[in-house]
């Protein structure tokens, strides 16, 4: 009595497993664009933060425009560092 019922549920679970594997593959394909976005924002955010810090320090110490220039480049360096780290993390994931 219980055997066909049991078989049905097992079939259902096996089918959903196959479906999930196919879905995982699809997600991997889509994640390339996500990765590209991730690296872009990582770079831009650090530059923006560096520039803002420079701007704030400039208005504190009244040294316009030197600190904003210095911190812009420091922010760019931090952004490149972030991108390298994110890329390393991606390689580790694969």
């Amino acid at each position: 009595m219980t055997i066909p019922e049991d078989f049905k549920t097992r079939l259902k679970i096996a089918k959903s497993k196959i479906k999930k594997e196919v879905q995982d593959l699809d997600e991997k394909k889509g994640s390339f664009m996500g990765n590209a976005f991730k690296l872009g924002t990582e770079l831009v955010a650090a530059v923006a933060v560096g520039t803002i810090i420079g701007f704030i320090l400039d208005s504190w110490f009244d040294t316009k425009p030197w600190l904003i220039i210095i911190f812009f480049f420091l922010g760019a360096a931090a952004g490149i560092l972030n991108v390298i780290r994110a890329a390393k993390r991606m390689q580790k994931e694969d």
Partner: protein, 244 residues
């Protein structure tokens, strides 16, 4: 119909104006869709955990899949020490995911397409992670700004760069989610506008693009929730396990 593709992002009040100590706390459409997302999550998890069967039905299967997905993500990226933070990361992931997904429904409002919402979430994570780091390691936590094996001459420069890199975390976390959601929804609206203006003869091409973009947007909605949660795990990992 609205032809301005940015009009979908306007926040307007629902019901009476509430002002407490000079701060506008009125109920808006953004608050409404946050409440809707939260209630959908609660309903979904309630139904998923109502009948605890050994052989799960569909909704229980999905709920369990979400649970194992987040649990695996935390143990993979932040290790066993991050176990106590599971409830927080699970709620964060579910909230971002459902806000994104509810936003995909026609006539709805995407809460996560507003920088203020994502920035507050990111700042909360950033401050919480910093506090956790200081609680766990004391002032030794500051050593994440000083990488090992750097010549003494370069140390001040590297430390400043590291501090900027640390401070840029909430910005990149929030801007990524906000920009993805806003760009996607604007694009959908623009293609929708093309369908209307090109009419029956030429409207089929943008319509097919619109359909494809909707699929892409659902993928992006999931992906961004995943990225948001996994980056929280990575930041938590930095705070829990120094010099990893």
């Amino acid at each position: 119909m609205a032809s301005n593709p940015m009009q979908q992002f306007t926040v307007h009040k629902i019901g009476p104006e509430i002002k407490i100590a000079g701060i506008d706390l009125s109920f808006t459409n953004a608050s409404l869709f946050m409440v809707i997302s939260a209630s959908v999550i609660l309903l979904f998890l309630f139904l998923g955990s109502k009948e605890k069967k050994i052989i799960p039905n569909k909704i229980q299967l999905i709920a369990e899949m979400f649970y194992t997905f987040v649990a695996k993500m935390i143990s993979d990226t932040a290790g066993s020490k991050a176990k106590p933070y599971f409830p927080f990361i699970f709620s964060l992931f579910m909230f971002v995911l459902f806000c994104n997904m509810v936003g995909m429904l026609p006539y709805s409002f995407t809460v996560t397409s507003h920088i203020i919402v994502t920035l507050i979430m990111a700042l909360f994570i950033f401050i919480a992670v910093t506090i956790i780091g200081f609680l766990k390691h004391g002032f030794k936590y500051l050593s994440i700004f000083v990488p090992s094996g750097v010549p003494a001459v370069l140390l001040p420069l590297i430390t400043v760069i590291e501090i900027i890199s640390y401070l840029s975390r909430p910005v990149s976390l929030s801007v990524r989610l906000f920009a993805n959601m806003m760009a996607g929804h604007t694009m959908l609206k623009v293609f929708g506008g093309f369908v209307v203006s090109l009419g029956v003869l030429g409207g089929w091409l943008p319509l097919s693009f619109s359909v494809a973009l909707t699929g892409l947007e659902i993928l992006v909605a999931f992906l961004q929730a995943y990225v948001f949660a996994i980056l929280t795990c990575i930041y938590l990992n930095d705070a829990l396990n120094l010099h990893h």
